[in-house]
Amino acid sequence: MGRGEGVNLMPYSPALLKAQYPILSEDIAPGVPLHYLDNGATGQMPRAVLDAVVTHETRNRANVKRSVHTLAERATNAYDAAREDVAAYLNVSARDLVFTAGCTMAINLVAHSYGSLLREGDAIAVSTLEHHANMVPWQMLAARRGLRLVRLPATAEGRLDMDALPGLLDGVRLVAITHASNVTGAITPVAEVAAQARAAGAVTLVDGAQMAPHGPVDVPALGCDFYVISGHKLGAPNGIGALWGRRELLAAMPPFLGGGEMIRSVRFESSTYARPPQRFEAGTPPIGPAVGLGAACRFHAGIDHAAANRHLAALTGRLIEGLRQRCGDRLRLIGPGDLADRLPLVSFTIKGAHPHDICQILDRRGVALRGGHHCAQVLHEAYGVAGSTRASMAAFNDAGDIDACLAGIEDALRILLP
């Protein structure tokens, strides 16, 4: 598959796709197949990624950049190629793409480095929909440097409240929003937010952790200034993520972490630093995981996500409908009830049944759901609940997975409700 160039999509079929994931081929317990509906927490690893990682570790493993022997050259080439692959997936230049330990690390990097350029009294706007990864670093920054935190509210449907936005951006220097909520599934109209932010003199950081696994992202079209992704959600190994930043911004930002690779020259008293992206990649980079992320981006670029997303919207409808039928008034959706501008994920509560108990009971049928606050406590608090149960789909999921989930919900109702 060509890098960056036009990619040949495989004809979309959940069954063919399922066959590409080793973990899905094995029963989770004797006679119990796996219905993995926890893709929002971690994407499973397709064989193509596993093979890329194994090949790297067994044929090309070395430290990068610093040595000139054959293995080091192979490793350096692999690392550079991975950066190109990820950049192509986001339609950006590899020069502006920083590899990080994950999405959380990418946001912390911006909060520390770009944040150090903000001044006391400046404001940062954060939506209540955010994952803790896109909230706690800003709280810590605000406390460290005397900044104001502005709350961008969500609607009752769990979408960013666009009507409230214009009145809230005064004095705001940075807007931190998610491309898609990991709880409500709502997709944010990022281009509109970024345009308003820009007009108000703010830069926009977009958390693409949940969006990126559903197809290539045209980052320039969003008009944002920073975009971050999480490797493991795309099926890459843990320990890798990426930050794209607008070139002028990255160039003006001081380094965050210190160590090897990010320097130009070190004297005892002080050092000078390399250009981006190396300036922000201190220490031995996560080479193998990066190779895995490159392969994951190529893998995803080869999926016909348009077709997949139509299929997944239908499954989302089937799931919501099935929950309504079985739970009646006890059901509460934590997120929109319709299928427009949303990810194929559904969070809900069932009155009288605790999310963890539901998840545990569904596990008996091999159905993997997630219960809790999903690292979005503020959002759950706005809904007046401590946690919810979430089913989150990937392109390999099929109606059988949804039906197993619904059957499990029937078990849970039977066991847990009086």
Binding site: H356, Q360, I361, G372, H373, G387, I415
Partner: protein
């Protein structure tokens, strides 16, 4: 439907309301969250002169395991002090790891948790009430000191 992780006795304990609610004049209170799910347990206590628990009430927003654990703990709390509660929690944790009944000698009610042994992630659900009650007892101790 019978269920090994949710035996009828556990569901019964979870729905036991006899020590739910608030104490009118608690000597100490504590509220703790389970950071992984946002579940919350709150305890009110009064102590006797020997820093031992005289009365307790709990409020639980949590799963069945945590609810059952709180009910069972409240039922045995009278006469315990903070140290004993902490030590009992350690014993229970060790017993949860093996899953061998009796989990807490002298308190057969807790054997509803034997099958939790396979589900490490849920140990915290069972232990959160102990942590919270211990904190409430310490809170009362601090106030009286």
């Amino acid at each position: 439907m019978t269920d090994d992780l949710y035996p009828r006795d556990m569901l019964r304990a979870a729905s036991d309301v006899s020590r739910q609610g608030e104490l009118p004049a608690p000597d100490g209170t504590a509220a703790l969250d389970n950071p992984f799910c946002g579940d919350r347990v709150e305890y009110d206590v009064t102590l006797d002169e020997g820093h031992k628990i005289r009365a307790v009430r709990h409020r639980v927003h949590a799963c069945v395991l945590c609810q059952a654990s709180a009910s069972l703990l409240s039922a045995m709390a009278e006469g315990l002090d903070a140290e004993t509660i902490a030590a009992t929690a350690e014993d229970l944790l060790a017993a949860l790891k093996t899953g061998e009944a009796p989990l807490l000698p002298g308190h057969p009610g807790f054997d509803v948790f034997t099958s939790v042994t396979k589900h490490r992630a849920r140990f915290a659900c069972v232990l959160l009430p102990f942590e919270t009650l211990e904190a409430a007892a310490r809170d009362a101790g601090n106030k009286s000191a």
